[in-house]
Symmetry: none
Subunit: 256 residues, 2 copies
Amino acid sequence: MDLSTLSVGQYDFIANSFSFGFAVMAAATLFFWLSRSQVAPAYRLAITITGLVTAIAAYHYFQIMTSWEAAFSVTNGTIETTGYGYNQAYRYVDWLLTVPLLLVELILVMRLSRSETISQSVKLGGAAALMIILGYPGEVSEGGAVRFLFWVLSMIPFVYIVYTLVTGLKASIAKQPENVRGLINGASTLVIVSWLFYPIVFLFPLIGLTGGAAVTAVEVGYTIADITAKAVFGVVILTIAMRKSEAEAAGETANA
Amino acid sequence: MDLSTLSVGQYDFIANSFSFGFAVMAAATLFFWLSRSQVAPAYRLAITITGLVTAIAAYHYFQIMTSWEAAFSVTNGTIETTGYGYNQAYRYVDWLLTVPLLLVELILVMRLSRSETISQSVKLGGAAALMIILGYPGEVSEGGAVRFLFWVLSMIPFVYIVYTLVTGLKASIAKQPENVRGLINGASTLVIVSWLFYPIVFLFPLIGLTGGAAVTAVEVGYTIADITAKAVFGVVILTIAMRKSEAEAAGETANA
């Protein structure tokens, strides 16, 4: 990433978007964990993990923000790189932990059978971890060919996850109570759409998008994608858990 | 913002008002969340969000305070700017998150039907976010014409929110129990009055109010407006939630 062409305005905008990311993730964590008592015990594990994902992301956004500030010095309206590198790997460390957990959230809130929960979590979570691991060597490589090779490799688990969400979970979604079926479909779509941003951005340097504007698009874009995939997605998961808790409580009263 | 004409006394006064802002927001957060168990479950989400708003504000006041201290150096009673910019954007990042949530608080404590809660939250919350987003380019612009243009654009959602609070919610307010109707009206008025401060201050540079005294008026004024709109408003929301919880508990006992 070529950081030398960044303007003060671009630097500030990116720094503010990192601070925004941190604030959203930290606030979302508190919100999810404070709301945990409002869902039935069967859904609390899903909400615990939902908050865990945003908590891990909050930590990494704080580190990203600090690393960004250390990489530049802005004095009297002039920007210079300090020579300290901006550590992009924090994003990968974050994703390696949070991306498998995001899929586990979705599986848990569906409340499948124990064996199905475990097998789906292992399959989808494992594929997600593999996807991140395969992306990293491409991200830190200098050459375009290496970057493209690992992009292709990383897309294999990505496509597998999308395929499973679209087709494999369909049978399970059909078994969900009617009042949340639309929301669960929405959550799967949110995963697919927000995740599509990442492989597209990954290709930017290959198609010649560099310089200050590209850096701004990438960093702000990743931040928006992360907020959508983790905090907004978490709100959908919490809503599903609340509605299912209500419906099940009403069902028990009706049966009593 | 011209910071070079600030006196040591003005610098200190602003720094102390930021510290005051942080302390109030952090204390308010703890107060709201500790009081959450004292309202009926139906109102807990409103109180969770009330505390979330002040928590987000506390974080940003801490960042504002740090940025302010980094922008100046006071030694032997002499003040100098360090060359590091004072980051005004923290206020916008804060507002982008908290202003929509403040309106959601008010809607939630009214306990409308689910569909009305969602539609009002989307309409008012969306308008609030738009209002902040449209204000930002004006705030960071150098020219007066650009500042004025974005002031006008930002005032469109502002006027829409005020109009909705005054007229659109009136029918819903009329349906509220009598013991809280006055308080809910008070909360709407508090939103409108405390929010009026922001567009007025935004125009200060256009009407030639600059220099140390203007900076002090803006920064201290924003802090007072934020405390009123978030912490004082939150206390009103908590009071409404407590009264409604009591009234509903009494109603259930009477019906039993």
